[in-house]
Amino acid sequence: MELITIILSGILIASATYLILSKSVLRIIIGTGILSHGVHLMILTMGQLKRGSVPVLDDAVSTYSDPLPQALILTAIVISFALTAFSLVLLLRNYKELGTDNTEDMKGVPHDD
């Protein structure tokens, strides 16, 4: 299972990279979303999968699955949501001000000081 999730997260990150390198801002934001999914999957895999039971204290259970990656990912999910929300609003505002969602059109005039 871990082999599959590692490869899957590699594919997710590769796709995310491709999207981030494109010119459309919306695709870049989608790319960051996919990137965070890939990273979450990778972190979770590092704590080994499907070993022990749910990490909630129980006298009948002796082994638990690793709680630390889960705690880290929980934080990461929320942060990546904040990032996505902010980028989306930035995209909107940017479009209203500049009339484009193409990053190539956004670059400033060189030496405009």
Binding site: E2, G10, T45, Y64, P67, A71, G99, D101
Partner: protein, 799 residues
């Protein structure tokens, strides 16, 4: 913190005080407040002479960062004390001179603050035993020199000269630091004395030649040796007191000090001896040759300084033979004595000559040789001082320059006895270069006296010439008097300061008992060399108009200055071009650099270290897992293919919800819940934004563009997979998870481990997370509400 540490830092402390009080001092010249500081230091240093003359050394430690070896170790032996006395003694005279030279309208606060910083820096260079501290003070001298050259910063030439000196000396200083680091690698110490004790380690190391070259680069740039001397003539834009002090008597001798200090460390190295000897003599020859054609008084003195520095440098090269070859030690010791003696003599006569040049500039309004002439009767005191000091520079008895010059010639003749490397095979070369250089020195010295004070008065001077005020004359008179006293009674110096300094250079405790005498007998080759120099020099000066044309063969585009200027221009152009090429202003290019670096870095690491991957210890794969993997892959494919934004947003949602299911399968219920909630909100947000976005947007992407992106993405994915597998296969540390599992109830009284980690074990993380969330919220609010006022509405070019 001992008295000597305090003495080193006294000028900087005074500089702070000067920076505060200079606004309030209007009636008195600020220099009077500065003058006591070098005077006090020199008085203190004189009190150390008796113990130093008895072969005592002082060593005081002040721990700064002992664990990395950065300590302020002060080490005073004869060499350090000699330089320290020169620095503070000449410093006092220069401050006195500057009171007459600079009017109260100048920015005196700046001037004296820089000068005092320099004093501390220079004292630190010559008294530090720790090479890190030495480097620190070394660069500080470069900085204060830069500030002082640019003192009249509205003049373009001052700024040019300051920049030139800074670029060249900083380059050398940085190279020297590299040499110091290598020395530290070899000997594992930053202390020069311990390096001398471990010289066998340095002899054995293959890195030593590199260290030699790097340390010498520092010394050669600082002491203006060929081919780095070009900054010194341009540094003459500084006020004359600065030229006399930094660029003649003290700072430019820091390189000599460095070479002298490291002689016991490097003397065994053939490279060291050859470089110092040859570069020194070439500098002597080339700079004295070029000094003759100069018209500006200070330019003559600048080239003369360069050539005299070369002279001392070559003497130190011969002196190194005394350390490395046991056989003829006595003969070569005389070279070290000559070097030390000439350092003192040069400081006296060249300091005085610079001050005289300043007086002439001050009283006539020009420094051009063409405009000056026939001033002997108008400025008799100045004339007398010039006569004494310039003849001393030319090597005429009975002045001090004659004595050290004769010792120098003697040392050059002695090289034929050297049993070291191939030196003896080249023994003709060294005396010839030395004699030719000395002839040119004689010629420009005579030109200086004759051109300014003899001949007809030109009446071209902007001001009507008259004798300078007493304040300006005081300092050069003292120095000229010293020239005569040291010339007549050299042995008041030899026992008290020259011998201890020479012993410091040689790194020995055996007393030298030097006797400097005026007469060595008729069969001394140096005597006949001196006679030849005077005769040929006089002939050359008398017939100068018939051979000056040879300077025309040295065309502008073949000079080192031209090379420097062109190098500067092209390096600026090149860096501008490189910056424009890399910084395209296009986000995607920067991302390609980042990802591309990641890929290259990953490949190189894999190549060099290898990635041990084992394929065991995997969990079972269920059918439901495979279904989820399939869903994610299909969704990804659709996102990549589709041009519809709505579809890609929905597919992103599909991936998110699949992730939530994954979390559920992998026994992470908290994650699954959070992911579900967040994914719902995110998808909604995307859809809301979608409503406001343009219906169509043009993103033509060329095949090349897409292909590059594809290659980079595949590389990133492959590296991630490789590293993920490697990390999974090799666990270098025990996980901290077990600690959390064991203590979750005892320490935090909770059952849900994930929650306890979030709010208790790693509570601060979560707190900061809410902060991030808050910042994002404020940012979003601001973006929605804020109105941007644009000034240049006309420049809008977008559709």
């Amino acid at each position: 913190m001992t008295l000597i540490h305090f003495a080193i830092f006294l000028p900087v402390i005074a500089a702070i005080a000067i920076a505060i009080i200079y606004r309030y001092v209007k009636d008195v010249h600020l220099g009077w407040f500065v003058l006591p500081i070098p005077a006090v230091i020199v008085a203190y240093l004189f009190s150390l002479i008796p113990s130093i003359a008895n072969n005592q050394v002082f060593h005081h430690t002040l721990n700064l960062m002992p664990r990395i070896g950065l300590n302020f170790d002060v080490y005073i032996d004869g060499l350090g004390l000699l330089f320290a006395i020169l620095i503070s003694g000449i410093g006092a005279l220069v401050v006195l001179y500057s009171i007459g030279y600079l009017s109260k309208d100048e920015k005196l606060g700046n001037f004296y603050v820089y000068l005092l910083i320099f004093m501390t820096a220079m004292l630190g260079v010559v008294l530090s035993d720790n090479i890190l501290m030495l480097y620190f003070f070394w660069e500080l001298t470069s900085i204060s020199s830069f500030l002082l050259i640019a003192f009249w910063f509205t003049k373009e030439k001052s700024v040019y000269g300051a920049q030139k000196s800074m670029l060249i000396t900083f380059f050398g200083g940085f190279m020297m630091l590299g040499g110091f680091v290598i020395l530290h690698l070899i000997t594992d110490t930053f202390s020069i004395r311990e390096m001398i004790a471990n010289v066998d380690l340095i002899m054995a190391s293959p890195l030593t030649p590199l260290a030699v070259v790097l340390v010498l680069l520092g010394a050669f740039t600082k002491s203006a040796q060929f081919p780095f001397y070009i900054w010194l003539p341009d540094a003459m834009e500084a006020p004359t007191p600065v030229s006399a002090y930094l660029h003649s008597a003290t700072m430019v001798k820091a390189g000599l000090y460095l070479v002298a200090r490291f002689t016991p460390v490097f003397a065994f190295s053939e490279l060291w001896v050859w470089l110092i000897l040859v570069i020194g003599l070439v500098t002597l020859f080339w700079a004295s040759f070029n000094a003759i054609k100069q018209d500006d008084l200070k330019a003559i003195l600048a080239y003369s300084t360069v050539s005299q520095l070369g002279l001392i440098m070559s003497l130190l090269g011969v002196g190194a033979l005394a350390v490395s070859t046991g056989a003829n030690e006595q003969i070569f010791t005389i070279a070290v004595v000559a070097a030390v003696f000439h350092i003192i003599n040069h400081a006296t006569f060249k300091g005085a000559l610079f001050m005289v040049a300043g007086i002439l500039d001050h009283e006539t309004g020009t420094r051009s040789m063409k405009k000056l002439g026939g001033l002997m009767t108008l400025m008799p005191i100045t004339f007398t001082m010039t006569l004494v000091t310039a003849l001393s520079m030319a090597g005429i008895p009975p002045f001090n320059g004659f004595l050290s010059k004769e010792l120098f010639l003697e040392a050059m003749f002695e090289i034929s006895n050297a049993n070291f490397s191939a030196l003896a095979d080249w023994n003709v070369l060294f005396p010839i270069l030395a004699i030719v250089g000395s002839i040119f020195t004689f010629v420009y010295s005579i030109k200086l006296i004759h051109g300014v004070f003899f001949g007809k008065r030109t009446h071209d001077t902007p001001k009507e010439p008259h004798e300078a005020p007493k304040l300006l004359l005081a300092s050069p008179i003292i120095l000229s008097a010293l020239v005569i006293i040291f010339g007549l009674f050299p042995n008041i110096l030899s026992g008290s300061i020259i011998d201890p300094a020479a012993m410091g250079i040689l790194g020995t405790d055996t007393a030298l008992n030097t006797e400097i005498s005026h007469w060595h007998g008729f069969n001394n080759p140096a005597l006949w060399a001196t006679v030849a120099i005077v005769v040929i020099g006089t002939v050359l000066y008398l017939f100068r108009s018939s051979w000056m044309f040879i300077y025309d063969y040295h065309k502008e585009q073949f000079t080192l200055n031209h090379l420097y200027d062109q190098g500067l221009i092209y390096s600026q152009l090149g860096s501008a071009k490189a910056t424009d090429g890399i910084m395209s202003g296009f986000l995607r290019d920067y991302m390609v650099y980042i990802f591309g670096f990641f890929v290259v870095f990953g490949i190189v690491t894999t190549f060099y270290t290898g990635l041990p991957i084992t394929f065991d210890d995997f969990a079972q794969v269920g059918i439901q897992d495979m279904a989820l993997v399939l869903i994610i892959l299909v969704s990804l494919a659709i996102i990549m293919m589709t041009r519809s934004r709505m579809v890609s947003i929905i597919m992103l949602g599909a991936i998110g919800f699949s992730m939530a299911l994954f979390f559920a399968f992998f026994r992470a219920p908290d994650l699954a819940l959070t992911q579900l909630a967040i994914e719902t909100v995110t998808t909604t947000l995307f859809l809301v934004c979608f409503y406001h976005l343009p219906k169509r947007s043009k993103h033509e992407e060329s095949i090349k563009f897409k292909f590059t992106n594809f290659i980079v993405s595949v590389g990133v994915g492959a590296i991630v997979i490789l590293f993920g597998l490697a990390a999974y296969s090799n666990r270098l540390f025990d996980s901290i998870s077990q600690y959390h599992i064991d203590n979750v109830y005892d320490l935090a009284a909770g059952g849900n481990m994930v929650n306890v980690i979030l709010v208790d074990f790693r509570g601060y993380d979560t707190l900061m997370e809410t902060l991030v969330f808050g910042i994002a919220g404020i940012g979003i609010y601001a973006l929605m509400k804020a109105k941007v006022s644009r000034k240049d509405d006309d420049n809008e070019e977008h559709a």
